[in-house]
């Protein structure tokens, strides 16, 4: 089947990028934000500087390697926050009494009523921008989709015979939720999380592009693109390479998420039904 191979490719990509980012201090030693030697500004790619240099003479490749950390950190942590929050809300909504469902879904819908970009911009500009703030804000604005997904799944899992049977055995509701319902959600949640990491990285890069994300000396690929914007036509390497790095990273997570979904989702059975 193709799908496991896709998942494997995605996983491989993600792994490589994660290792590169984590190993940045060893792969590209030195301070990536330090000013480069005079005369080295805006040099096109060459054997000495494979990806060129920026307006301050700094090597782009080195900065690229260090910049990956920002994306990965924000991606992982904010998605974790979003998923935990979203799962809790969705589960509570799906299993609890109707008034709880209405309340939670009302809150969820209220949050969802904003285009996420608007909300994020709003919340960030309300205080001092930083990568940490971006992480928190993205987490707090990203749980709603997960909540709805989990709620929908929970509502259908709840009706399944083995869950009803568990209730029939007189088990406490929290136990039924923990032992029987939650594990059935695992696949959906993992896939949703993986796919969201990609989207989160993209939003973070846009924020950094606007200057509302990572602040110097923290390097982010989005900020690097912004720095190259003024010389877009003359120094194409400044905008092109960070963008490619972003694309590769997000692609990795999307491949992984897609592949996982095909592998884990029990409803997707390829092949003809038997008798």
């Amino acid at each position: 089947m193709r799908m496991p191979r896709i998942a494997a490719t995605g996983a491989f990509l993600c792994l490589v990028l994660a290792i590169v980012a984590l190993a940045a201090p060893w792969l590209a030693p030195g301070d990536p934000s330090a000013l480069g030697p005079a005369g080295a500004e805006l040099q096109a790619p060459s054997p000495e500087h494979p990806l060129g240099t920026d307006a301050l003479g700094r090597d782009v490749l080195v900065r690229l390697i260090h910049g990956g950390r920002a994306s990965l950190l924000v991606g992982w942590f904010s998605v974790m926050v979003a998923v935990v929050l979203g799962t809790a809300v969705g589960l509570g909504s799906g299993l609890g009494p109707q008034w709880v469902d209405r309340l939670l879904m009302g809150v969820t819908d209220a949050f969802l009523a904003f285009p996420r970009v608007f909300l994020v911009l709003l919340l960030i500009s309300v205080s001092t921008p930083s990568l940490g703030l971006v992480t928190v804000v993205l987490g707090l604005t990203g749980w709603m989709g997960v909540a709805r997904l989990v709620r929908a799944e929970t509502l259908s899992i709840r009706e399944r015979d083995f869950v009803q049977a568990a209730h029939g055995l007189g088990l406490a509701p929290w136990r039924v939720a923990w032992v029987h319902v939650l594990p059935q959600l695992a696949a959906t949640v993992v896939v949703a999380a993986t796919l969201r990491i990609g989207t989160t990285i993209l939003i973070e890069s846009f924020l950094s592009f606007l200057g509302l994300g990572a602040q110097e000396p923290t390097i982010s690929w989005g900020a690097m693109i912004q720095q190259g914007r003024g010389v877009l036509l003359e120094a194409w390497w400044l905008t092109t390479f960070p963008g490619l790095a972003l694309t590769l990273t997000v692609l990795g997570y999307n491949l992984l998420g897609d592949g996982l979904r095909a592998v884990l989702d029990p409803r997707r059975t390829e092949g003809v039904r038997r008798d």
Binding site: G106, D109, A110, L112, A113, F114, P115, V117, F118, L121, L122, L123, S125, V126, S127, T128, G198, L202, S205, F206, F209, L210, G222, I225, R229, L232, L233, W236, T239, T240, P242, G243, L246, T247, L248, V250, L251, N254, L255, D258
Partner: protein, 326 residues
Amino acid sequence: MTSWLSRRLAISVILVFVLTSVVFFVVRLAPGDPLQRMVNETTQPGDRDLVRERLGLDGSLGRQYVDWLAGVVRGDLGISLRQQRPVTAIIGEAVGPTLLLTVTAYLLHLVLAVLAGTTMASRRGRPADHLLQGVGLVLYSLPGFWLGLMLIMFFAGRLGWFPVGAMHAPDAVFMSGPARLADLLHHLALPVATLALGSFMGTARYLRASLDEALAQDYIMAARARGLTERTILWRHALPNALLPLVTLIGLHLPFLLGGAVVVEVVFGWPGMGRVTVEALWARDYPVIVGTTLLSAITVVAGSLLADILYRRVDPRVRPGAGGGA
């Protein structure tokens, strides 16, 4: 049907109201004083207070809120702190360009999505399917603003086919009608392409999955068993069923027609709602911020309501009054 509708309407109105009020208060908590841009060290404290009073920033927060509410009911959203013009005017000018951009882009998006989706589903497993899926995945993974920049760099910079940004050429006012239209389209091309290309594959994949599901149904097999052609089966049996869930997706997209172009507007310098909002945020221009948020919230809530209504009309099984055979 109507009782459900009126309930939803009431909830929507309350929702919009609550949302905007929250934004109103949240924004005021921001560090940074809008006055900083208007005054300098030489200004007298007394003058400062005067300016503050003129701008309506004196008085308690509660008082400001009530004043604002009263204004909204009248249709007055206040005066922009930065531009000293009515907020309604600023927003009014910006809505047009944004809608022009997003609606055009969305139409292109839909066309591309249907073409891609049906191709992928009907050529399942063959090279065309794999190719489209690959392209789609890459498009889905790249940053929208970067795509815009790359398009500018290549088509506007290298090839010179299109302008690098803005909505009109600087001398557009001097052009004749048709020339102005051509100029507009010329400027519209790259932003629309960026928006559509970046998003259509999501819908295409959704449609493909929906088509796959429809094609696996028993009634498709029954139709095949009756000797109907594959073409008929795809376009007259599978696609109508597959489009149903798409309506909900479109409903989800509708609300974002007003706010979703922020990225593209910033990159291309397009004078729309997104750019207005971003600039207002930087300048701590409270009235504008709250004004755009209000409009955005109304659009989103109205859009979802519309989508719900549409879906109920389109699916014959959900229509109220549908009889009940077991």
